[in-house]
Amino acid sequence: MPGSRPPAAVLASAVVLSVTLAACSSTSSSSSPSGADTKPHAGGHLTFALGSDPLCVDPHQAATNDAVYAARGLVDSLTDQNPATGKIVPWLASSWEVSPNATAFTFHLRDDATFSDGTPVDARSVKENLDAVVQLGAKSIFGSGYLSGYKGTEVVDAHTAKVTFDHPNAQFLQATSTTTLGLLADASLRRPADSLCTGPLIGSGPFVLDGYTPGKSVELSRRANYKGGSGQAGHTGPAYLERISFKVVPESGVRTGSLESGQVDAIAGVAPQDEAGLRSQGEKLLSRPNPGVPVALSANTSRPQAGDIAVRRALEVAVDRKEVVDTILSGSYRPATSSLSSTTDDYRDNAALLAHDPAAAERILDAAGWKPGPDGIRAKNGAKLDLKIILAPNFGPNQSVLELVQQQLKKVGIGVTLRVLTIADYQQAQKSGDYDLAWGNGTRADPDILRTAFSSKLLNLSHIHDTRLEDLLDRQASAADPAQRAAYVADAQRRVLEQAYQIPVFEMTSVYALGSRVHGITLGSSSQAQFYDAWLS
């Protein structure tokens, strides 16, 4: 097996863990209480350690959270999304209208916004930017999905832009709050797309790009003449921080140690096993579940065993999600309670459908004719119940989680075989269909991610053919009325769980650790760290 050996990085973090624990007992860094220093003030240079190279800091092309941290500071968007309520709030656009079938969106822009080169942000900028993202095609991984069916943008007047699509596209409103559809100045849009990844970039945001050195760092500095601040920011006007340095530090143990020893001010990608140590050192932990599809086992319904709804339903109730979170992960993580994670817009709690109930799992399997064999594993018509799970090591604890799930399933007579694959092999297996269950998740703040994951018109790796689900997914995509859309999304979430196309386990979570002088870092609707309100004491 090419991928069955754990990567060096995983081993390395295990070693760092043991060394860190040994070091903890003797050193006690007393974090001085900030006392009088409790009001935000301007100035200061924040150093933030990233887990991976951003690769591309062009907001339109940025594809990972590690790229979005910097990109978010460079551009403002038409709208912002309230991470607590999912509500879309004004930013560059002070108001908007959506046509009844969600094919046309009209935005009314503020008239005082400018790019960092002094040129105004107007309706024409909206058109130029959306056209540019469409031009990027698949190079803008997210943009190509957000703008699917884009007909064009009409500049109605200097501060009114009307965006139209050739089919209903309700998710577009949330998409306008993302960094991907943030606004860059003409000067940047005129340059070839390939050259934008490393800058220079001129944007509409509170920070400007001083430089990006691939594999190493991104440097931002504050823009003095910034007038913005979205409808939900903590202040208006220029950002507080004078400078931000994002440093690439791939090894999670080194990030943790660098924060504890004061070499950086804050870190992303805190490993679950490092959380307790950081807390005991007096560092603040900041976490939020990623919106979208939770970490789940997606069934390949074209296979005989995974295609049996009894088997899938039994899996849903045989997995003890709480035990997974309590023993393998950390206090920052939550068990999954629906086919969307709890921070996704229009999420509904369906915990009842997923309640741990091994007796029920056995009843379902008995009724469907899966009888226990001599080794405790069930069989039907001579075929042993043995499901092949594929996983990639893209999240450290993946294998430990699934080994625990394997034990839990064995108790009700379901056998599983784990196949740890490289990312490339994993994706290949997903395509070829040589698996029963695939372990993974997907991040998006808009519930339309359900359509991407389960519509039979799209990639449909689960081979689902469910006209009722398809209808619900289509309806939510064309519902301009938020309440109506939420109702369709609720039904779709439930349908996915009732048919057990996917067995959600836990919510992928972004975990950050902040040194004691760092204040005001907020987490956006995709759980990404935001620095506009941040300040140092």
Partner: protein, 319 residues
């Protein structure tokens, strides 16, 4: 001599072409699909649409027939254009030019530390009259060879950076940031040099000419440094040549642990996401380095030891 150099040049071109072609073949035999990896951002492919992957494949020419892709890339490579990174769109030559100095610094520092540390250990072990001390010193290399590089690195970083805060834990700016990674990378090499040099020093010190020198009244220092070391150092020097390769391989781990933006980390990242142009660029760079070092070694060898002279040269001329 001119014929010899011409032949070497021809060999070099062949090695470069072979490295390029074999790496192309291997990368295409890998099961993954670069377009899917790109679209899924290194994660789950179930939330990616087919339009996205098809469009990416088309944009990067991955949908053309294999022979055509190979031909186009090779033609561009001949003009010094190694293409652009599939991940970031940056020209491969620029990526390599940015990462190379970091790695060269690291490799040079590590080789220096290895030679000094390994040499000092072997000399000290041969110098001391205390039996227990000698045995202790001679047992150190075995430990050095068997400790995994990343483990040593993490222990060093834990103590010297996180705890005592003497050196920075990561980065590649300034001399301070070079200390921990180069020591980490140097330890296995230092151990090897110490072992080899100590053994050949022992052999040399038992030679009759040492007795002669001592009988003539030379001091211990002069015998050790002036006579024995000179003869004993040839195997160790050969070893340094071999180690250059090991140091570059070790850079993959060390650059990851110490967050240095060098060739090693660039390669590891590119292989994971099947960024074919970058991987091929690094392979070509490796081949160039290999060709240059072997050429240098072959040309320098006769200068060091007149007995080894020009056997290759003569056959070359004869042929």
């Amino acid at each position: 001599m001119r014929n010899y150099l011409l032949r070497r040049l021809f060999q070099a071109v062949f090695v470069l072409w072979a490295a390029y072609t074999v790496s192309f073949g291997v990368l295409y035999l890998l099961p993954g699909d670069p377009a899917t990896i790109m679209a899924a951002g290194g994660g789950d492919a179930s939330t990616v649409t087919r339009e996205q992957t098809d469009a990416l494949r088309h944009q990067y020419g991955l949908d053309q027939p294999l022979a055509q892709q190979y031909g186009t890339r090779l033609l561009h490579a001949l003009h010094g254009d190694l293409g652009r990174s599939v991940q970031s769109g940056t020209p491969v030559t620029r990526l390599i030019a940015q990462a190379l100095p970091t790695t060269l610094q690291l490799a040079a520092a590590a080789l220096l530390v290895a030679v000094v540390l390994g040499g000092a250990l072997a000399l000290l072990a041969s110098w001391t009259r205390s039996g227990p001390l000698r045995r202790l010193l001679l047992s150190l290399p075995a430990a050095g060879v068997s400790a995994p590089t990343f483990w040593v690195g993490l222990v060093l970083v834990q103590l010297l950076s996180f705890r005592w805060r003497v050196f920075p834990a990561f980065g590649d700016e300034g001399f301070d940031s070079l200390v921990l990674p180069s020591v980490t990378l140097a330890l296995p090499g230092a151990a090897l040099i110490a072992q080899v040099l100590a053994r050949s020093l022992r052999t040399a010190l038992a030679e009759p000419y040492i007795q002669t020198a001592l009988a003539k009244g030379a001091g211990r220092a002069r015998v050790l440094f002036g006579h024995a070391l000179r003869n004993a150092s040839i195997p160790a020097l050969t070893l340094v040549g071999v180690m250059t390769g090991n140091v570059l391989a070790g850079a993959v781990v060390v650059e990851t642990v110490f967050a240095r933006a060098g060739i090693g980390r660039e390669t590891a990242a590119a292989v994971t996401v099947q960024d074919i142009p970058v991987v091929q660029g690094v392979v070509v760079l490796g081949a160039v380095a290999f060709v240059l070092t072997t050429l240098a070694v072959d040309l320098i060898h006769p200068l060091l030891d007149p007995r080894i002279t020009t056997t290759t040269d003569r056959t070359a001329v004869a042929a």
